[in-house]
Subunit: 332 residues, 2 copies
């Protein structure tokens, strides 16, 4: 099956390739009758335009690149899918690249003639972002506040979320709050912790260093750390706010191993509201971060940057989702 090109259509239709191109792209320079005819021939020949030819020629590629460091995991999958549909609706194609290397991002970005990019890559520094900015290609970061002429950011209101979590737990009457930290250096982790700390402070309490455990966003790490904490004989917390749902679950497992019931003895809440929350029992109280909203915003923003200049940073707010792992403190 020979690949059929614009030339074949032109020959069959008895017109020039230029006319075929114009007709196919609905430029109104071409006479309606000619257009009809060309379209009919293209249809009959089963003509499919070659995207590479189009892209190479320059101008619009109608493709937006999504650069993520991983794709496995509930967050990325949903993010990608939502973005795909949002972009497709506007006539753009999403090209997903899995990479954590800034160099590779540059390479694909310049070498694939992408119209724009959405990037989630923890390893960017200021200088590299600037280099990207100089490319003049619309870029939306999912994890940086950086802005530029053609550069925006879409982030979660992590500070507010951390505050909200601690505030909720405090409101339930808990006194000994613990935090399971995420990943050092990670924007959301730091912000959630800052918000959490501020809420304690506003309540006239201070953050006790030993009541901050390292969870690395991982179930196993949170489990191990909580276990160690309990083994060392510290007084267990009344309530814990974990930086994400996985670490909340790991934490609950360790608590149970030591005979502590959730939520009767200790309240635990997570963050993200990933699919798991609804499967564990009791169901996990958490803060919902909508990766769909994030994806939708990011898609819209990268498209906006195509025609407008001036990046901005968009913040997605979280919502408290009360399920079964937190309880009012009953005086003892």
């Amino acid at each position: 099956m020979k690949k059929i090109t614009i030339k074949d259509v032109a020959r069959e239709a008895g017109v020039s390739v230029a006319t075929v191109s114009n007709a196919l792209n609905n430029l109104d320079v071409v006479q309606p009758k000619t257009r009809e005819h060309v379209l009919a021939v293209a249809q009959r020949l089963n003509y499919i335009p070659n995207a590479m030819g189009k892209r190479l020629r320059g101008g619009q590629s109608s493709a937006i690149g999504l650069f993520v460091s991983a794709i496995a995991g509930v967050y990325y999958g949903s993010l990608t899918e939502t973005m795909h549909y949002a972009l497709q609706k506007q006539g753009y194609e999403l090209q997903v690249y899995i990479t954590d290397s800034v160099h590779t991002i540059m390479e694909k970005l310049t070498g694939h003639n992408l119209d724009g990019a959405i990037i989630h890559c923890n390893s960017f520094n200021e200088a590299q972002a600037d280099a990207l900015n100089r490319l003049g290609v619309p870029i939306v970061f999912l994890d940086m506040e950086k802005t530029g002429a053609k550069m925006s950011g879409v982030l979660f209101e992590s500070y507010e979320n951390g505050y909200m979590a601690a505030d909720y737990l405090l409101g339930l009457g808990h006194k000994r709050l613990m935090h399971i930290f995420g990943v050092p250096g990670n924007y959301d982790s730091e912000q959630r912790f800052r918000g959490y700390a501020q809420a304690l402070k506003d309540a006239g309490m201070a953050v006790e260093p030993e009541y901050v455990l390292n969870g690395r966003f991982e179930r196993a790490t949170a489990y191990r750390e909580m276990r160690r904490f309990l083994q060392e004989g510290h007084t267990p917390p009344d309530a814990v706010f974990a930086a994400n749902d996985y670490s909340a679950i790991g934490c609950i497992e360790a608590l149970r191993e030591f005979g502590l019931r959730v939520p009767e003895d200790v309240s635990v809440m997570g963050c993200d509201d990933n699919a798991l929350c609804d499967f564990v029992s009791p169901k996990l109280t958490t803060i919902r971060l909508s990766e769909r909203d994030q994806a939708t915003y990011a898609a819209r923003e990268v498209l906006r940057l195509l025609s407008q200049s001036g990046g901005r940073v968009e913040r997605i707010s979280g919502a408290l989702i009360v399920r079964g792992t937190c309880k009012i403190r009953t005086e003892d």
Copy 2:
């Protein structure tokens, strides 16, 4: 920042573009000294080859397309990521396309100059597969047995898995087995059921139609169906084999609502071994289907088809993973 091309490198290096191309691609026609020099200049200029130019020129595009109907969900994410790494290791790039339309697949496949494709799309019929075959592009299906000169399939041993599941439950002493069916028409669903039925038959038992519920691979559907079944006053099963983990979980929820304990009163097993199994309690006994193995095989196969002709069908075997939802039947 002007995009720098092979021409710029040629000018800077004082050679022709042909020589630059040859040097860059390590063709040993070029004199070592020249090669070194060209490479150095390319490096200094920060030259990044334009993939579109390469692809358009024909020959190798070094890109394999993965066509999936969805990307959200644990299965797809892991599949995609594994495939990406397997392909990357061989110098190929994975391009992910989310689509369920055969037409779109054809379009991307012919219009993007892909070297090959891996396809997971339930809506293919024989004729369409043949059309794809005529393209002469290596294709690996993840959900069809179809083979061709440049067409292979990578499937799970679903018949065997269904058999294994029923056999295990029977071996535990259960008598009233129930099956939660997947999606009608779906290959794996049908095969699992066939294997399940055969195991019953081999044990001298027959499949009772009312003991086959429709789960559609969904937690909610399985829950609803099991609920209906119980409400109608049928005798509850001793054991149930659900076509996937989600439906097993839905089934357990309905069982519990009716005061039936798992595994004390009824044993339940799922299929897939997705991440959830380890999060529910008790942990779900299931059959592990490795999407990683599937991805690795598929990647290897599509690459093999690049240089060899003659498709085959590869089958990935499953493994029984015993956790906490099945129990030996204690006579009553």
